[in-house]
Symmetry: C2
Subunit: 425 residues, 2 copies
């Protein structure tokens, strides 16, 4: 094909994806919760039946991944096994059993003109999802979108194309069997960059785009897209240990927030300690952190209290390590901690450890992050820990959705207004 032919072919391919998605989204809007949930149960049972087929197709991706020299961590994220297939199916069943996110009016009132105004929750419409590696995302996103009445266009990574296609085939068959439009869930079969870039221009057809992956992916999508985006972006999270803190509890929380799973966005990168308690806290905490393999980078005052720490640079305070590294800073007041977090953090998840209720409430009010904690680990920022039963991501946007996103955040609203012939004066 010439370049022009290829371009027009890409446009035609994306046109068809978009047309089908919009059409499915209109049909989904007319289905009941029971119909949408039944489709998820159908898909779940078909996934379990297709277990060995899914693992065979996954083996093709793993083989290609090994040839391409993917790290063992990436290969692990990519791999499917009977247990993981089972767990995808269970995820679908969990979401199927959740309450209808579209049920009930958000608000309803009557205005003096006699009009009855209902603010009704509705699906957003067509969701675009761009993601990397883990094939289970294909099933998870299917569950959340179908349950909330949204059509979805899934653009997975090239490295998982065989696995994602296999899962998508099961999804399509399940939707069909349940009488839900098959094109409610469409996997983009082309893995070239032109197709992705073309999708990013379709603000008339895709209502919301969720890029989920490394900061490079999110940034690239944000720069090119004309579609509104929910960013699942960096977490530069901090724990602040107040002078009134229970230091034993504080040390446990810091350990958990840094060490339990350092590669995730809700793990902390900064520890702020009030000067009054710094020596006592660090005397207990430093050996525990170091034993867990944590590298400590400290401010000039903290470095004197931590054997083996290196000096933190200015950049350290706003860096997401996603690794066993912790920057430690001594702070002289609650307000200095708040100021520091608001200027250096990324507005994701931050926690104060304090026995002083006024201090805790001041921190909770003035720290401008999606999730603010008192006396708990930042690791709780996710849809499951919040009781949402599922999660499509963690939003670092300020509007529409903040923090853990699940079914509710895949809805929007419209106003339904009932009159008796009213005209405007």
């Amino acid at each position: 094909m010439t370049e022009d032919m290829q371009e027009s072919d890409t446009k035609a391919y994306v046109d068809e994806l978009c047309r089908q998605a919009r059409s499915a989204s209109r049909q989904l809007a007319a289905l009941t919760n029971e119909q949408r949930s039944a489709a998820l149960r159908e898909i779940a049972s078909r996934l379990v039946e297709a277990e060995s087929l899914l693992c065979q197709r996954n083996a093709l991706d793993l083989e290609a991944g090994r040839e391409a020299g993917l790290s063992s961590a990436l290969l692990d994220r990519l791999s499917l096994n009977p247990e993981r297939v089972q767990s995808m199916a269970e995820g679908l069943l969990t979401v199927a059993d959740l309450d209808d996110p579209l049920a009930g009016a958000i608000d309803r009132w009557r205005v003096p003109s006699g009009l009855d105004i209902e603010q009704r929750r509705i699906p957003i419409g067509v969701i675009g999802m761009i993601y990397e590696s883990r094939p289970n995302v294909t099933a998870d996103v299917t569950a959340l979108c179908v349950k909330s009445g949204n059509a979805v266009i899934l653009k997975g990574g090239k490295e998982a194309i065989h696995s994602n296609s296999a899962i998508a085939e099961v999804v399509t068959a399940g939707l069909h069997a349940a009488g839900v439009p098959e094109t409610a869930v469409q996997l983009v079969q082309r893995t070239d960059r032109e197709t992705t870039n073309e999708l990013l221009t379709r603000d008339d057809s895709i209502d919301l785009l969720i890029p989920r992956g490394g900061p490079g992916l999110v940034r690239a999508v944000a720069e090119r897209s004309s579609i509104p985006i929910i960013k699942h972006y960096e977490g530069v999270c901090s724990v602040y240990v107040d002078e009134s803190a229970d230091l034993a509890s504080a040390a446990d929380i810091v350990m958990n927030a840094k060490v339990q799973r350092p590669g995730v966005c809700n793990a902390i990168e900064n520890l702020l300690v009030h000067a009054e308690v710094a020596d006592r806290l660090l005397a207990d905490l430093t050996p525990r952190l170091q034993e867990a393999g944590v590298e400590l980078r400290a401010c000039p005052r903290a470095i004197k209290l931590i054997a083996g720490a290196t000096a933190a640079s200015e950049d350290d305070w706003s860096t997401e390590y996603l690794d066993l590294v912790l920057a430690v800073k001594i702070i002289d007041s609650l307000d200095e901690a708040i100021e520091f977090i608001n200027s250096e953090g990324s507005g994701h998840s931050d926690s104060i450890i304090s026995s002083n209720n006024d201090n805790a409430e001041r921190f909770l009010s003035l720290v401008d992050s999606a999730v603010v904690y008192s006396n708990a680990s930042t690791r709780f920022t996710d849809g499951f820990a919040f009781g949402f039963g599922a999660e499509i991501g963690i939003s670092t946007n300020r509007i529409h959705a903040r923090g853990p996103m699940a079914l509710r955040e895949l809805t929007t609203y419209k106003y339904v207004v009932r009159g008796q012939g009213q005209v405007r004066d």
Copy 2:
């Protein structure tokens, strides 16, 4: 100045605006509703005192506008007089008296880990407002942003710079007197395009941008901005007259929706009539519309029933006339009307006139617009008619805010999580 110097000067100017806005937004977050409302009352009383000064400064804009050959309609929108100043002040007082949009938790629950999760309403942060002509927008937006705890950067049109500056000076003095940070409301004093373009890149400092003006302005801002935008975009609105409609009421509603104020976004552009009632409805309605000066463009079947109509082109069905023009189409079923509106309309405001409750509810469910009506004029789509007491615009976005936007839509939320030492398993 050289071009380089000018560019770096523009950047420095915008840096300072952004820095001041963020700083004010942090301070606003700590104020009570009483403090925010008191500032609006202070500004209102100072506006009334400054009435003659405001009119003098406005005269400079009017003079420049006449020299530049602005139309009399535009000059009218631009002009201030004692009555309009009074009305701006009243608008501020109305907003001051409204309920605190930040009060109360949106939701609150406890999860099995024992964490108490509160979804708390908070200001969005820093709002950017880009608008044209009418100087009263400067006061209205000040009222809505300060009341909801947001800092705002106001970029008015070049044609209103003297009027906007005069109002902004009063606002600044009023904020200062009330002990609210003066830089909570900043008017951009530079009217060159470079400054606006520079603002559009500041997604780290401006949390939400609201362009309000003609489609050209909105499109230009949307194309360049990296900041999330609420579009106040076209309204291609329709009334559908069902076969079961009370035809007298239907005719009154169509007249109102088309004629009462044709230049606004919630006026209709399309009339859809069920074939069963087309001749009776049009026999009554056509002379009334034509008497009011409405030009009628009709589908092949309707043209036979309307003396003096011209043939509608394909483009007519999706065109926002903002004028005394109405496209008329005969429809054979409710579902055809729904399909037509979903494909040709702009998702703004649409109405069904029907005495059949099932038909009305089907229309209300399946028409995918921000506001859907039964038996009422589409002209009610605004914040005042909805009982919001004010309005910053009408959103044609699908996420965050849809339809009339006022105080509530200038807020977002954060999760406040209180624990007793919880760590993640």
